[in-house]
């Protein structure tokens, strides 16, 4: 089927490639619980925060996927998909669709295939991927730096200036940390590293950002070796 837009972008990309990626989305086990058709009522758009500030519409995702319009699908995969807030307000859909769920799968396919759109969208974000994968916590107190959050006001300056002392002035002992959100035991970190490798998640990072992959594997190898594991020998099970 042709695109609903006569001037669809990415005309130079072979339809077979677009079809391959489309089928990869549809092959995800969650696909069958994300889309049941579309009434075109627009309730999802009314509820969507991203639709208010971006050229973005959850309804378009539902319609394009339902119509199997691989050309527009490819355009969404490369452009507006990354504007979604993943809040799932669109699950207000009276047809029980989850446009946000469709986008989760599409994003995963873009990352797995090392698409440039994913690399560009996640360029500034990749250090967060390093943080969560290396420590087991997504954000940490030492990220509260004025140059990272200049728009959060002078309180960030105060926190960063007093970080060491203020962290020790919190009663729960697990929170006396600055590089991690809480104190994660070494054994737990080891188990997390094994999950990244065994699940194939580490391979996804290599495809997405080789620089982050190299730093991450260095950190992982050190701990794994201490516990008698060779990262290269740990088999991917998924």
């Amino acid at each position: 089927m042709g695109s609903i837009y006569a001037d669809a972008k990415y005309q130079d990309v072979p339809v077979e490639e677009k079809e391959r990626l489309f089928q990869e989305v549809k092959a995800d086990m969650r696909w069958h619980t994300t889309l049941y058709g579309c009434y075109e009522c627009g309730i999802c758009v009314a509820a969507c925060p991203s639709a208010r500030f971006y050229d973005f519409s959850p309804r378009v995702f539902a319609q394009v996927m339902a119509r199997e319009d691989v050309h527009t699908f490819y355009e969404l995969l490369n452009d507006s998909m990354w504007d979604c807030s993943q809040c799932f307000s669109c699950t207000r859909c009276p047809r029980q669709n989850s446009p946000g769920g469709i986008i989760t799968i599409m994003r995963e396919v873009a990352v797995k295939n090392g698409m440039q759109s994913a690399k560009t969208a996640l360029q500034a974000y990749s250090r967060i991927i390093y943080k969560v994968m290396s420590t087991g916590t997504q954000v940490a107190p030492d990220m509260l730096q004025p140059d990272f959050f200049p728009d959060w006001g002078p309180d960030v300056v105060k926190v960063s200036e007093n970080l060491e002392t203020w962290r020790r002035a919190i009663p729960p002992e697990t929170l006396h940390t600055t590089e991690l959100a809480w104190d994660v035991s070494e054994q737990t970190q080891l188990e997390l590293y094994l999950i990244w490798k065994l699940s194939g998640n580490l391979d996804m990072i290599e495809t997405l950002d080789e620089g982050i992959f190299m730093i991450l594997t260095e950190v992982m190898e050190e701990l794994l070796e201490e516990h008698g594991y060779d990262l290269d020998e740990v088999e991917v099970l998924v």
Binding site: M29, R30, P49, S50, R52, Y54, S85, Q86, C87, F88, S89, R92, T104, E108, V111, K112, A121, L122, Y125, I128, V132, M133, G136, T137, Q138, V139, A140, P141, M143, L144, F149, D151, W152, G153, D155, V159, N162, T165, W166, R168, A169, I170, P171, P172, E173, T174, L175, A181, W182, D183, V184, S185, E191, L192, I195, S199, G200, M204, L237, V238
Partner: protein, 400 residues
């Protein structure tokens, strides 16, 4: 004159007299049927809440949900612990004050779902293995998981659906957990800490020290609490006629504060996962234009109370830049745990750690009857003791 004209039309019933008791089939399947079925087949272990250690509450479609009272394994939130530490500290403080046993584990990782919703740089097997590693650890530690983060709560419920419906995923996760030497365990309920606060609201009220009757409150229900796998969020027909989740509003009402409504209550906060870290122009615009300014115009609250990491962060931190543009902002944002702790007399800085928040919360404290100048001097005194080496850390005894 026709006798018909003498009949007095009773008119529509008042909202308080209208109840919507569900008579028909519940529209969603009941996960527990499948959970216990898989347990009977020997595929998984179901971690049960011990008898006598729970409160039953109503959920969206009228099913009952068990909320554990104590012996809970606190699945902490990276955003709360990292950037709003008074949030989690208040949850622990409430447990200590009510005399309930809990465990604050170091053998916990975050759910990593903030990253997943931001980047999708993970997959279902990794996400499920991380969830079940945490659940297995709680089971082995002998405590029932209590989830602090709204996104972890929503994501774990999605993971539960995937695990229950996909044999292939269960097999993958089992092979991964075998390598870690951990069993495939799923708790019988996924419980958010705010559900515990809701279930404990009468006990919290019984220990209330501050009069909050003149404090105007608006509530922001977290998206990943009530929009992801909707059927086991708490609903109560005494709150909003059962048409909106009762969690958070329940504790605000119980404490006697002046709960006010506003038109954009269903809207997201604008967090966006990736956006709050690297595209904050969007988060800031949505948080201030669609949430804070609407609340200001329609309710003019003294405080916004919410129950998730991202919501407190986005609604609070977004206001600084908006204020610089002379927007109609300036409402402090607290979690329900902090609000309840303050009401029970918790120290605003040693326990609730309000100095980590962005919006000036001193006018709110004055309205609540808290001497913030004295409290800050007390906190500074403890900080000096740490700096001088007299004490290494602020202990619970120092804070209480």
């Amino acid at each position: 004159m026709s006798s018909k004209l003498n009949v007095i039309n009773p008119g529509p019933t008042k909202a308080k007299d209208r109840f919507f008791d569900r008579k028909g089939e519940v529209p969603t399947e009941y996960f527990k049927d499948q959970l216990f079925d898989l347990e009977a087949k020997g595929e998984i272990i179901v971690h049960r809440i011990e008898e006598g250690n729970y409160v039953e509450v109503d959920t969206k479609y009228g099913r009952k949900k068990k909320i554990p009272i104590q012996n809970t394994w606190h699945h902490k939130s990276c955003g709360q612990c990292g950037h709003i530490p008074g949030y989690s500290t208040s949850i622990f403080w409430l447990h200590r004050q009510l005399g309930y046993n809990y465990y604050d584990p170091k053998d916990q990782t975050s759910c990593t779902a903030w990253n997943y919703y931001a980047s999708s740089a993970s997959n279902s097997a990794a996400q499920a293995a991380i969830a079940i590693r945490n659940f297995a650890q709680a089971y082995q530690d002998g405590y029932f998981p209590l989830i602090h983060c709204g996104t972890s709560y929503g994501h774990y419920k999605e993971t539960r659906n995937e695990i229950l419906h996909h044999q292939g995923l269960r097999d993958q996760v089992r092979r991964i957990l075998d390598k870690l030497g951990k069993p495939l365990v799923f708790p019988e309920e996924i419980v958010h800490y705010s559900e515990w606060v809701h279930a404990m609201r009468d006990q919290i009220k019984a220990r209330q020290k501050l009069d909050l009757s003149n404090v105007v409150v608006t509530v922001h229900p977290a998206c990943h609490y009530h929009k992801l796998v909707v059927e086991d969020a708490i609903y109560d027909r005494d709150l909003y006629d059962g048409q909106r989740t009762a969690t958070v509003s329940g504790i605000v009402k119980a404490l006697g504060a002046d709960l006010q409504d506003y038109s954009t209550w269903h809207d997201c906060c604008g967090f966006g996962f990736r956006h709050i870290l690297v595209s904050r122009d969007f988060s800031r615009s949505f948080a201030t234009l669609r949430k804070i300014e609407r609340m200001k115009e329609e309710a003019n609250p003294d405080v916004v109370i919410t129950h998730d990491t991202g919501c407190v962060t986005t609604l609070d931190k977004s206001q600084f830049a908006a204020k610089a543009h002379n927007r109609n902002v300036g409402i402090p944002v607290l979690s329900d745990s902090q609000f309840a702790a303050l009401a029970m007399g918790a120290h605003p800085y040693k326990v609730c750690q309000l100095h980590w928040h962005g919006v000036d919360n001193r006018p709110l404290m004055e309205k609540m009857g808290i001497d913030h100048e004295k409290a800050w001097a007390e906190f500074e005194e403890q900080v000096e003791r740490i700096k001088s080496g007299e004490i290494e850390f602020l202990s619970w005894e120092d804070a209480e």
